[in-house]
Subunit: 343 residues, 3 copies
């Protein structure tokens, strides 16, 4: 429960209503009641707010909200994100080490750190202040974890991994497993031992069951503010830039580079040593070939090899037409291709 | 060990042989011995049964099985599924709470529930009758799990999640992690806190290492009877309909809707707020764009943007021909496209 | 710390320098110091070695290294892999059973086996000599694990699974969960119970969070020396051949066969009962349709249905051109296709 004035201060907006109005939570306009703060991110939302029972609204300067109490901001959705964090902070586990947790010799915990049931913290690891280690999480030997970072239940850090401050790793994340590198030999592929490490910067967010491999030599890096969705794969020696976004099933192969603020859509991929330039956007399922470099800030590229979004849309029109117009053929002719060996 | 008569009753078929014949298990015709019940799902299987040593056979009315004892049914493979469950029920762990399990205050367990080694059940959670919680599974605070549901080892339910009755969640499933939503800000992307929840209906099946995110506001839903394969991603505020099937690597983005009995093939995807209509089938790797709606019950659509299967097959014939017929060019001309910045 | 002579013996190379020269570790030429052994896998590396401070170098016969101490080999990268394993062996946990581990009745451990904190080994399971079971790993009842195999933290083996010798399973791997098979019924899909098992051969490597399902009947097989990356899916009754390589997000559907030394690139897929012939390479995201067979040893095939790499490159040239040259159209004409139902 906070007052409208407190909320305006927390989100950096202009108070436009009774300072002492008490609000309980943020809600989308469709669901907002008298104690709720709605937010109007666009015209459609604004119309919904007009017909809603919301007690107050986050909106832009000049938005018409029928005299309703408001906090005026530049970006209502960004303000809503901040207001949710302010009104409904995520509960944090109580500080302290659960009686069932196993701490190796020399493990050090910062002030206010919390280690959950059955968590294992390896020898010589250092956890910062207010770090939370969830149930069954495993922090390998010699890891370092920065202040205020949350490791959810079942997170695994292999030995020697570094995680910065204010990170959030969701359940099932694996950081520092061996990279996938092999040399062919007469008796079969021989694994190249992976003796490098992984360093995550500050404010990194990693989604559930995502995997980030350790480097062959040197370091796999995820820079400050990068955000990874669930089920993403980051291979050995890859480098993910500041504020980059990697959506679900995105894959970054060995040695590939995602520069600052670049985006990989869902299922998008970089082949080994490819480079996605700063601010460039690979759309869903787009991919760069090995050593290919693509840099086009703010623009969306589709498919593999990638082409600009507009060109891709034109191409898909032709593709759909050719599927529609091609003469129908017997089942024979439509069969899948077979290799010469088989035919 | 059951009699042919008991089996006929269990699968809802017509007894066509000695009622007292004792059978041990179901087997495919290639492997069936004298104590086994084979099943003939098609002509090929029927021929195999003829040459097999099977003690009895599940087949259709009118199928010629050379006088062999039989149970006559409409769908032999469906009957076989029921007969396997009847003859070879999956072992269930003994009821009771393992001495190493950690139960939070106010956690309630139904009759016959089983909580395995090192499992953690959070404060205020309610487990129904005969629920099994596998080793190291974590049920967050305030969760509800319906009767006869099985949570396999290492399943994670974040706080506040609801799971219906008779569900099966395989190892490594994560339900209720934060959705992936961000607002751009000068200093980088700001996470939109995710304060909604997840509700799974009854008879839902979730494969190993699949992730289902909690909603931003409101609820991410998976309705009764939906079946999800391994390594599937269901994002915040998505809705999966009754009896829907999602194959491995299928992805359903934020707010997208899979209507009842719709199917996503492997690697198929819905972009944010897309809708796949009831009974419509997205083939392997087919995808809908944001807000796109596709409804065509019983039909298969391929690729992205999707086209009907027959049109896609025609298109691929042209594609393969153009690859074959295009004049060969020097390596230069075949190079990957580069952005203007780079050239 | 080993001598040049010891290293030459370990990698099977020719000593070309002072036998007693002591070296500490292997490093790429850019990072190598006076106590390091650099390796020159190609011309570019060789030039880097020339300007490096490396104490010695792994290189080919005839490579010019300016009189620097060397070990001469046929394949410097393969030799480097062996030298890393020799100079910097991965630390192994101490033998013995952690006081918190839970061993079921009849579980047997070989000499030198190590069972970590909170690991669970089911009744009747057999672990070979020097097997390591990481923290929180779960070995179900009746499993068998061969000598020198490493199960990393949080690995799950469902009951009855067999793993060979010298395997490495990374964190979060799930072996033996139920396959994804259903029969349609009026009330919705009915799961076909999965009563088969999984057998992994010797020297198999499985990446983090990869899933390998048990067979419906019979056995899902991964043969000796096969290497699987992170987040791979192997479905029920699939068969993976000797020395096969499966990259991240590769998917092998039910009953499909990957023959010996075949390769699935990232996101590549086999549909049910498809066969990828020995030594054949499916490039990134290439896929075979159900029951399709492709056999073309040593050749790369792209896309789905697949075509040879050279043909695919020709096709992409035409595709990029058609996107560039097609007349621009209004937004209307570029809209995504909708089904007849919706229009």
């Amino acid at each position: 429960m906070k007052t409208l004035e407190q909320i305006a201060a927390a989100v950096g907006g202009r108070l436009d209503g009774p300072p002492g109005l008490v609000l309980r939570r943020v809600a989308p306009p469709e669901e907002a009641g008298a104690e709720d703060l709605a937010f109007a991110k666009d015209e459609r939302h604004l119309a919904l707010v007009a017909g809603s029972r919301a007690g107050a609204v986050l909106c832009r300067e000049g938005d018409e909200v029928g005299g309703r109490p408001a906090v005026r901001v530049e970006n209502p959705r960004l303000a809503a994100a901040r207001a949710v964090a302010f009104l409904s902070p995520e509960p944090t586990p109580p500080p302290g080490v659960h009686r069932t947790a196993v701490l190796g010799p020399g493990a050090r915990l910062g002030e206010g750190a919390s280690v959950g049931p059955y968590a294992v913290v390896g020898a010589g690891s250092t956890l910062g202040a207010r770090v939370t280690v969830g149930a069954h999480a495993v922090v390998g030997e010699g890891c370092r974890v920065g202040d205020d970072t949350r490791l959810d239940p079942h997170v695994i850090l292999y030995p020697g991994v570094t995680v910065g401050a204010r990170c959030r790793l969701h359940a099932g994340v694996v950081v520092g497993a061996e990279g996938f590198g092999f040399e062919p030999d007469a008796a079969g592929p021989v694994g190249f031992p992976q003796r490098g490490t992984v360093v995550l910067g500050d404010d990194v967010r990693v989604g559930a069951n995502t995997t980030i491999d350790r480097a062959t030599f040197g370091t796999t890096r995820v820079a400050d503010g990068a955000k990874l969705d669930n089920l993403v794969q980051v291979a050995h020696n890859a480098s993910i830039g500041r504020g980059a976004l990697l959506c679900a099933f995105a894959g970054v192969a060995g040695g590939a580079v995602v520069e600052d603020r670049a985006v990989l859509g869902p299922q998008a991929a970089l082949s080994p040593d490819a480079v996605l330039g700063a601010g460039t956007i690979l759309g869903p399922r787009a991919a760069l070939a090995s050593r290919q470099r693509l840099s086009n800030p703010g623009k969306v590229w589709m498919d593999a090899p990638p082409m600009p979004l507009a060109a891709w849309k034109r191409w898909t029109v032709g593709r759909l037409r050719s599927g529609r117009d091609a003469p129908s053929r017997g089942r024979q002719d439509l069969s899948m291709p077979r290799s010469r060996k088989d035919t």
